[in-house]
């Protein structure tokens, strides 16, 4: 790895960390299931960027792309099911505020 690529990696990683913090902040602050899902999406975007960057600096872009495609497929399945869960949570409870979803409380 050349020093130039290493420096590029360092700069990108700083902003990826900021993206991670934004995603975690979104999940922690919002009392809304859909907004929490958006926070999860931001976290996944940071992970995607990190994988692509790792592939670029190590010269294995093809492998990184294959992994990212798998990640995107998993992301779709998770988001579709989570969207359905949010929809039914609203249908039954008339709210998507996680504090008020007490049906599963043991």
């Amino acid at each position: 790895m050349s020093p130039d690529t290493l420096e590029l990696f360092r700069y990108f990683v700083i902003f990826i960390i900021l993206l991670f913090i934004s995603g975690i902040y979104c999940i922690l602050v919002s009392f809304n299931l859909i907004r929490a899902l958006i926070g999860l999406e931001v976290l996944i975007k940071a992970a995607t960027l990190l994988i692509i960057l790792a592939g670029y600096v190590s010269g294995r872009s093809a492998l990184a792309q294959a992994i990212v495609i798998t990640l995107i497929v998993i992301e779709i399945a998770v988001m579709v099911v989570a969207g359905g869960v949010a929809f039914w949570a609203f249908r039954y409870n008339k709210t998507i505020d996680p504090r008020r979803l007490s049906n599963l409380r043991g």
């Binding site: 420096e7 602050v29 995607t48 093809a62 294959a66 990212v68 495609i69 798998t70 497929v73 399945a77």
Partner: protein, 142 residues
């Protein structure tokens, strides 16, 4: 609430679009196309569909929520914005030449020959998602 949620979803779609441009510049065109079409398009559609089934909250509850949100993590957005601006200004990021051709095998060869177990996993995950949606939206017997 609904309008603010839709604004958040549009922001997420824009983030995906910007990310796909970065991915394209980092020698990953196939992943960039997937990101743009799926994450920026399909997932936004899923979110907007879900939001369209919900309803607005009252203005009183909106004010209460805003106050609660401010009380919880007031400083973190400012810290993130200030950190980003400071990093941009003081790190003096040099101009990188990103036009290095990709090394190694082609992505199609990697995906179909080396990572075929991943493809099997993707099919299983998609089927699990489909079954999840079918079970969620199955009409309950009355």
């Amino acid at each position: 609430m609904t309008i603010r949620l839709i604004r958040s979803i549009v922001g997420l779609a824009l983030t995906s679009a910007i990310l796909s441009v970065i991915m394209y510049r980092l020698n990953s065109p196939l992943a960039a196309v997937f990101e743009l079409s799926v994450c920026s398009g399909l997932i936004s559609v899923i979110f907007i569909t879900t939001v369209s089934f919900t309803q607005r909250i009252s203005k009183e509850r909106l004010l209460i929520r805003r106050r609660e949100r401010l009380a919880r993590f007031l400083y973190l957005p400012f810290i993130i914005i200030v950190a980003g601006v400071l990093l941009m200004q003081y790190l003096k990021i040099p101009q990188f030449d990103l036009s290095v051709p990709a090394k190694g095998p082609d992505v199609r060869r990697v995906l179909w020959n080396l990572r075929h177990l991943d493809l099997l996993g993707q099919v299983i995950i998609l089927l699990a998602g489909v079954f999840g949606v079918v079970i969620l939206f199955k009409e309950t017997d009355k």
